[in-house]
């Protein structure tokens, strides 16, 4: 029995933390939100040199050949720094899918570049005024010889303007219950149009892409044609397990901020951390943090070791960490009082980031149904579950 990260994992964490600290921690994200991406680009290179981008890529393609659990400390550190960039989508979605479903050619094309940090991916899934329901996907790909011709609009594509490639989910046939969908790997420069949308969380860019008769070779399909939904759902296990780790990192920083501030900020002649209203709230935040951490560590372990409860474990971690992260980010502002309401402190970065991940690639209620399904409780498809409340 040993429920802890091993020495190598903690060592990797320390390297990453050192690297992020040297880059100025949250300063990189703050600069990024002001449109200054140069520090972020420098940092990206350093992280790639450290090997971050290749952690889960097999050694034959230039990676470290490690698992989801090895990503955990790295993503926690990224979350602590509110790091911009499509790391989750690349490392915890496209990489595992390429490793499992990619053709030799696809792997050779993409994996070495990802490992080297010269290619990153985002996900193009949801469409305007639509939910994540697979059956509402309209973006269409029609076969033309050995090509696919794609038409449609995808929105809320994270960092579409920061990445080189996209994993696109398109309709290739009629369907229902997720049938008739396919996953296509396309390059950003193949997209007809891309616009950046205004997002509350400016640490991640949100883009909308338009595809007009975009023709790509059939060989870009990952997994079987028309079976894309099942492939995507498998990728989501990696993505949401990793997302929960990213959120834990943010929560860790938040709890640190609140407790440190409560020790030094004085009102009524004493540190505000002495007042139980503040003290006990920070304790509750700490409980949330540790619970989220335990859940996400276990979820990634369960994924790596293919435990029977992995689906329930992953979506439990995701729902808990998501809700707790919002709660903590909000409390953090209140604990800081007036100064917490300004751009001066980092409080707002964490709040906006928490909102970004609230409905990211799914909703809380949908995740809970996934938990329920994973545990074999009787299941019926929810009728309408866009939202998290």
């Amino acid at each position: 029995m040993d429920f802890s990260l091993n020495e190598e994992q903690e060592m990797f964490r320390n390297y990453v933390r050192k690297c992020l600290n040297e880059a100025g921690q949250t300063m990189v994200a703050r600069e990024f939100t002001c449109g200054n991406t140069s520090e972020f680009i420098k940092l990206q290179k350093k992280l790639a040199e450290l090997g971050c981008t290749g952690i889960t890529i097999s050694e034959e393609y230039g990676g470290l050949g490690l698992g989801a659990l090895d990503l955990v400390p790295v993503l926690e550190e990224f979350g602590r720094a509110v790091l911009p960039g499509a790391y989750l989508e690349t490392m915890a979605f496209v990489v595992p899918l390429l490793e499992k479903y990619g053709t030799r050619e696809q792997k050779e094309t993409y994996l070495p570049e990802i490992a080297a940090g010269t290619r990153s991916f985002s996900i193009a899934w949801v469409e305007p005024n639509k939910s994540y329901d697979p059956d509402v996907i309209e973006c269409q790909a029609v076969t033309k010889g050995s090509s696919l011709v794609i038409n449609g609009v995808k929105t809320l594509v994270p960092d579409g303007n920061q990445v080189e490639s996209l994993l696109l989910i398109v309709r290739t046939d009629e369907g229902g219950n997720g049938d008739g969908l396919s996953l296509v790997l396309i390059d950003v420069n193949e997209v007809t149009d891309m616009k950046t949308l205004s997002s509350m969380d400016e640490t991640r860019n949100v883009t909308e892409i338009t595809l007009e008769n975009v023709e790509v070779p059939m060989a870009r399909v990952i997994g079987e044609v028309n079976q894309g939904w099942n492939v995507l759902k498998e990728g989501l296990l990696y993505l949401h397990a990793a997302t929960s780790s990213m959120l834990v990192g943010s929560m860790d920083h938040i709890v640190e901020m609140s407790s440190e501030y409560a020790k030094i900020r004085e009102q009524f002649g004493q540190p505000i951390g002495r007042f139980q209203a503040i003290k006990h709230r920070i304790v509750d935040m700490k409980l949330d943090l540790e619970t989220a951490r335990s859940l996400s560590h276990y979820a990634n372990w369960a994924l790596d070791t293919n435990q029977q409860d992995k689906e329930a474990a992953i979506y439990s971690a995701r729902t808990f960490a998501t809700e707790a992260n919002i709660r903590l980010a909000s409390h953090n502002i209140q604990n800081h009082g007036g100064i917490g309401f300004t751009m001066e402190m980092d409080c707002h970065l964490f709040l906006k980031r928490a909102r970004f991940y609230e409905n990211y690639m799914g909703s809380i209620s949908q995740f809970r149904e996934d938990v329920s399904k994973g545990l074999g409780w009787s299941y019926e498809k929810p009728r309408f579950q866009l939202t998290s409340k």
Binding site: Q267, F268, S330, T342, M343
Partner: protein, 391 residues
């Protein structure tokens, strides 16, 4: 029990409503400078129509409005989405205080100009180390011949960057162990070299508040309100003037809930209105109950004020409930917009104001006394629970 309004009150409402119909600006400028003159114009328009200081005596340009008329005024202003009063501090704080304890000269110099918005006032209360604990202010005023030299830093000064004058708390003497003593209220001229104003950027990106740095800023004896060292009492007696409490916020909450209902009917995802989702309806019904409860509590406290002539400590209940609920409701409003809800400004799925108001709402449980301070007030003054130990 009777929720009706008297004929006189209804006439008042009608008069205001008619006036608003004719005078309400139709478009709001977005650009900062234009927006400020727009607000100043609105203030002048209000004053000219006799709708600026309605509770004031007629001789100061008011209309001696009753408390109920004041309530109606708030209701109608919220209903009409009228622009905010740029001179809130002047009209709700400075004016009433001067009328009560100001010198004749002060009344003469300031009251008219603040009513018309010719002079904009700001409030100089909070300091970086005196937020919840206002009595900890350190800004000092030292007598230097026939003038007072003021040094220190104020913060959270709304409209500080455009204000002409400041209703300022400064420490004029130290009384060890009695921090509430030795504070004096000054009417400070903001247009002088010793006053430097720096805007604070809020988390929603707006700049409503300021830091004000005072370096040998000058006041004269004539700028003192009430007695030297007795500023705390001035501040307390001022609070008792706020008979209508947080009326504006209460009616805004009510309106926001109605907007929320409209939004959930109109906004469609996958072709379905949000309100078709049973879970959303359940939560909306809960928010309805609690917002109605907050509004009705306000009316109940108002009834007490009407009977007793002045508000009790229960007004802290209104502040706490309404601010917490406003925050929760706006969070819900953004949350149910699903993944698209992260977008704002021109890309907001519905209207960017939801996202903006949501972020802004984080200030409502901090400003004007944090929720923690309100809970202490209610616990100690309403329930009679023992006070916190002081170090």
């Amino acid at each position: 029990m009777d929720f009706s309004f008297t004929k006189k009150e209804e006439r008042f409402r009608l008069e205001l409503r008619n006036w608003l119909e004719e005078n309400l600006p139709t478009s709001w400028p977005k650009e900062e400078e234009a927006y400020i003159s727009f607000l100043k114009n609105w203030q002048r328009t209000l004053a000219e129509g006799g709708w600026a200081g309605i509770t004031w005596p007629e001789k100061y340009g008011g209309r001696n409005a009753t408390l109920m008329q004041e309530i109606i005024y708030h209701q109608e202003m919220v209903r009409a989405d009228a622009p905010p009063s740029i001179n809130y501090v002047g009209i709700h704080m400075v004016g009433p205080t001067l009328m009560q304890i100001g010198t004749e000269e002060q009344k003469e110099r300031f009251i008219k100009k603040l009513l018309t918005g010719e002079e904009i006032w700001c409030q100089g209360y909070s300091e970086p180390n005196a937020g919840s604990d206002l009595s900890a202010i350190k800004t000092s005023a030292l007598k230097d011949g026939d003038r007072w030299l003021i040094n220190g830093q104020k913060v959270w000064t709304s409209y500080g960057h455009i204000a002409d004058r400041c209703f300022l708390l400064a420490r004029t003497s130290q009384v060890p162990g009695k921090k509430h003593k030795g504070i004096t209220v000054f009417l400070l001229d903001m247009n002088q070299p010793g006053v430097e104003v720096r805007p604070i950027v809020q988390l929603d990106g707006r700049q409503e508040f300021n830091e004000v740095y005072l370096t040998d800023a000058v006041c004269s004896d004539a700028d003192i309100v009430g007695e030297v060292d007795k500023g705390w009492q001035v501040m307390i007696s001022l609070m008792l003037h706020e008979r209508a409490g947080i009326g504006a916020e209460v009616f805004t909450l009510e309106k926001q809930f109605n907007n929320l209902v409209a939004m959930t009917k109109e906004y469609k995802v996958d072709g379905k209105s949000l309100i078709e989702d049973a879970n959303i309806r359940q939560k909306m019904a809960d928010l309805y109950a609690r917002s109605r409860g907050a509004i009705l509590n306000y009316y109940r406290n108002l009834t007490n004020t009407l009977k007793n002539g002045q508000p009790g400590p229960e007004s802290s209940i209104d502040k706490l409930l309404v601010s917490e609920l406003t925050k929760e409701m706006l969070e819900f409003a953004v949350s149910i917009q699903g993944p698209h809800g992260i977008l704002w400004k021109e890309d907001a799925p519905i209207n960017s104001r939801w996202q903006e108001k949501y972020l802004y709402s984080y200030g409502t449980t901090i400003g004007g006394g944090t929720s923690e301070i309100q809970r202490n007030t209610i616990g100690e003054r309403v329930l009679g629970l023992p006070k916190d130990l002081r170090a």
